[in-house]
């Protein structure tokens, strides 16, 4: 694999009058990676993708494709391709004509175009007799694949995706997530994917970049972001989580964590950073229910507020003594607790990740 990144974003800023959508973001994408940019609405991800494909011009900064300035090229000359949220298939053309479109406008002859279109039909696992089919006679999932085939037709360097699955129902989305990942492996191309759904990102991506208010909060593989978030925002964004904020001084012995009672040395063993706002992050599946004799390095006490069945697991919401809500996940058969039941939950130092943020 090529060592130099295929896509490099340098200090990219975009301002609309007084409003800054992107605050000087930087990003490097290695060749062949599946990168997903995730963020809530308003985070700037739509702006970012528009800058990447050429639908807007940046206020400051540069975008490099290998060693060429991508942002200096007009949209139709960039060797990249975008799959739109609406798919943007051409309703007045057949499936085959849609797929061939990038080749047709580049002047390729009919036999060459047809052969390539049929190859792509195979690659995307569409039947060959779809070649002459009308677009409005195709199902949602089929249209997704046609849009993908069309995007791949002229062999782009990078494929961009603007939330293509968000309008689909759950089953179809799940199927297509896996298919997209398989497609990525088969073609070896670089995929840059934009979504607000963390689930999609986790299933498909090599790396995830979390965008918030025009800045990247964290970039890294899914596993790393999940287990070692670098901010409370990222921790919460990755899913349900228990956060224990630390109060107190530098001296370990007087540190308090709200709602927790800790064994005397337990807090000192954690990687707490002085002069920072420290938060303990414990995932719901790492909290366990303690029987009357069981012990743990950190313990919290409360009552069950509610329980939710998540298929094979159950999620419990617990009203803790200090007013916080804790979330515990366990296997469905492991324990059965009803609302109002008093419980003790605990975890050890190995279950904890510490976030150290600038005091804000």
């Amino acid at each position: 694999m090529n060592a130099a990144p295929i896509l490099r974003i340098e200090n990219l800023c975009k301002r609309y009058g007084d409003f800054t959508a992107l605050h000087g973001i930087d990003l490097e994408v290695p060749d062949g990676e599946f990168l997903t940019i995730v963020g809530p609405s308003g985070s700037g991800k739509t702006t970012l993708i528009k800058l990447l494909v050429g639908m807007e011009q940046q206020s400051e900064g540069a975008i490099w494709l290998r060693d060429e300035r991508l942002d200096r090229l007009p949209a139709n000359r960039r060797p990249t391709c975008m799959v739109f949220q609406s798919l943007a298939l051409f309703p007045h053309r057949s499936v085959g004509e849609n797929i061939e479109f990038p080749l047709k406008i580049r002047g390729e002859k009919k036999p060459v175009r047809e052969q390539r279109a049929r190859e792509l039909l195979d690659l995307l696992r569409l039947p060959q007799d779809y070649y002459k089919k009308r677009i409005d006679a195709c199902s949602g999932g089929e249209r997704q694949r046609i849009a993908l085939a069309r995007a791949l037709a002229f062999d782009p360097e990078i494929l961009f995706f603007d939330e293509p699955l968000s309008a689909l129902d759950y089953r179809l989305r799940k199927t297509l997530e896996k298919e997209l990942k398989a497609l990525h492996e088969r073609t070896g191309k670089t995929f840059v994917y934009i979504t607000h759904s963390l689930e999609e990102a986790m299933v498909m991506s090599d790396r995830i970049a979390i965008l918030r208010n025009g800045r990247f909060e964290q970039i890294g593989p899914a596993r790393e972001i999940y287990t070692r978030p670098q901010s409370r925002f990222v921790a919460r964004f990755m899913g349900d989580v228990n956060l224990f904020e630390l109060r107190g001084g530098v001296d370990g012995s007087t540190l308090q964590a709200q709602g927790l009672s800790a064994k005397p040395d337990a807090l000192g063993t954690l990687d707490i950073v002085a002069d920072r706002h420290n938060t303990l992050v414990v995932r719901p599946e790492r909290l366990r229910f303690l029987g009357p004799e069981s012990a743990a390095e950190f313990i919290a006490v409360g009552t069950i507020a509610a329980s939710y069945l998540l298929g094979s697991r159950v999620q419990y919401e617990i009203d803790a003594e200090d007013g916080a809500t804790l979330v515990v996940e366990s296997a469905a058969e492991a324990v059965e607790l009803s609302p109002g039941a008093p419980v003790r939950v605990g975890f050890d130092r190995s279950d904890v990740h510490v976030i150290a943020e600038r005091a804000a």
Partner: protein, 124 residues
């Protein structure tokens, strides 16, 4: 591809020019109405509001105006009623001759020869 600024300005100017041209003849008519002379020629030598006085004071003009407004009102009501039902017939209900109906009803719009089709109503 967003629309570049120069193109927006160009299109905006184009729109303005067309609007001006659209209203130009009305401007000419307006000038004719305030020119003192009986037959208009530019540049206008003397202005006068007398014609308006004559028009507004004339009983004939008032009658004609009233008739026009009355006819317009009646035609509007009848058209809306007829049109509404016709639109319902096409847009809301699915019935056997719907598509044929649509094409037939549209046809007269394209065959409105104001002076031709209605010209010999006295012959009927």
């Amino acid at each position: 591809m967003p629309v570049p600024r120069w193109m927006r300005v160009l299109l905006g100017s184009y729109g303005v020019v067309i609007m001006l041209l659209l209203y130009l003849p009305l401007v000419a008519v307006f000038f004719a109405s305030i020119s003192k002379a009986r037959y208009l020629s530019f540049p206008i030598r003397r202005y006068s509001g007398a014609w308006y006085g004559e028009a507004l004071g004339s009983a004939t003009v008032r009658d004609l105006l009233l008739t026009s407004l009355l006819v317009a009102a009646i035609v509007t009501v009848v058209s809306v009623v007829l049109g509404y039902f016709a639109a319902l017939a096409f847009a809301r209900y699915r019935w056997r001759h719907r598509r044929l109906f649509q094409k037939l009803v549209l046809l007269p719009i394209f065959c409105v020869f104001r002076r031709i089709v209605t010209n010999d109503s006295d012959a009927t």
